[in-house]
Symmetry: C2
Subunit: 144 residues, 2 copies
DNA sequence: CAACTCAGTTTCGTCACGAAACCGACTCCG
DNA sequence: CGGAGTCGGTTTCGTGACGAAACTGAGTTG
């Protein structure tokens, strides 16, 4: 996906995709969440071209999704961490993962768990009373 | 994003993004969910090049996310509907929207509501006991 | 019968991407 | 003390996806 904007779209989905909708970007966030934090680790894991990785990391840092921190001077070496803003993308990743598990993967290779007791965790749409909803009970309404 | 695959990635997120991670694709799904179902409506709403829209719609139909149905013969005219598989992407869209609402939009232009009582609905990560979780309580574990 | 609608297709130039080589600072090994 | 290796990139170059706009063809409307 290009970094071009979706001009004329007054929509949070479009705004979000302008930032994280480029090719590779969400996979980089996934890998950093999984613990890969250095340039060469990411490059090896993703098989992404190095110049493209450079660009994506720079963009993610500019947008406040990743934080670039030096873990060694002499020589200067850097690693990337998720910021709070970056961590909040986990929900979207989980939703995509669940959809992929159900519709395109044979066997889900990874599952999301609660650390405390290792019980499975799912992404869902919930009302304030805790009810989990299906799509036909939903509507997307403009705010007035 | 290109329609090229993320080769060598055994990951449902990557699998999902191979299908819906191309530029425009998720915005098309959003618009169809909002009720825009004809070629020219989508083209006008998105400002997408017509040849690109043609390709995206074809791909979405091939993948079973949209269904192309004739609503008029003489002249033959078609509209696009979400399949069940397509409807299940709403959760991922909602997650992206929420992230965009919080981090990049000034005022959320649209909200997700329960049809029945118009109460707000949110995407969240929930354990089986109904507890809503934050990212630091989560881990992504390989299935054995 | 001319203008308009709808759902595309064709053409063409540009720009983002992928591959691979290169670079500079530093460390490790013999 | 010299050569290989590591890390985090940058540079170069060819290809292919995209954007813009014109065109098409079947049918409808005034």
């Amino acid at each position: 996906m290009l970094n071009r904007s979706y001009r004329g779209q007054d929509c949070s989905i479009a705004r979000a995709l302008e930032i994280v909708g480029e090719r590779w970007t969400l996979l980089i966030v996934r890998d950093v969440f999984l613990g890969l934090q250095r340039f060469d680790q990411l490059q090896a894991s993703l098989g992404i071209a190095r110049n493209v990785l450079t660009g994506r990391l720079r963009r993610l840092v500019d947008e406040g999704i990743l934080e670039r921190r030096r873990y060694s001077r002499h020589p200067a070496r850097y690693e990337y961490r998720l910021t709070e803003k970056g961590n909040e993308l986990i929900l979207a990743l989980a939703a995509l993962q669940q959809w992929g598990d159900k519709h395109v993967s044979e066997k889900p290779p990874r599952v999301l768990r609660r650390k405390r007791d290792k019980k499975r965790v799912v992404a869902a749409l919930v009302a304030r009373d805790g009810e989990v909803l299906l799509h036909d009970e939903l509507e997307l309404a403009p705010t007035v």
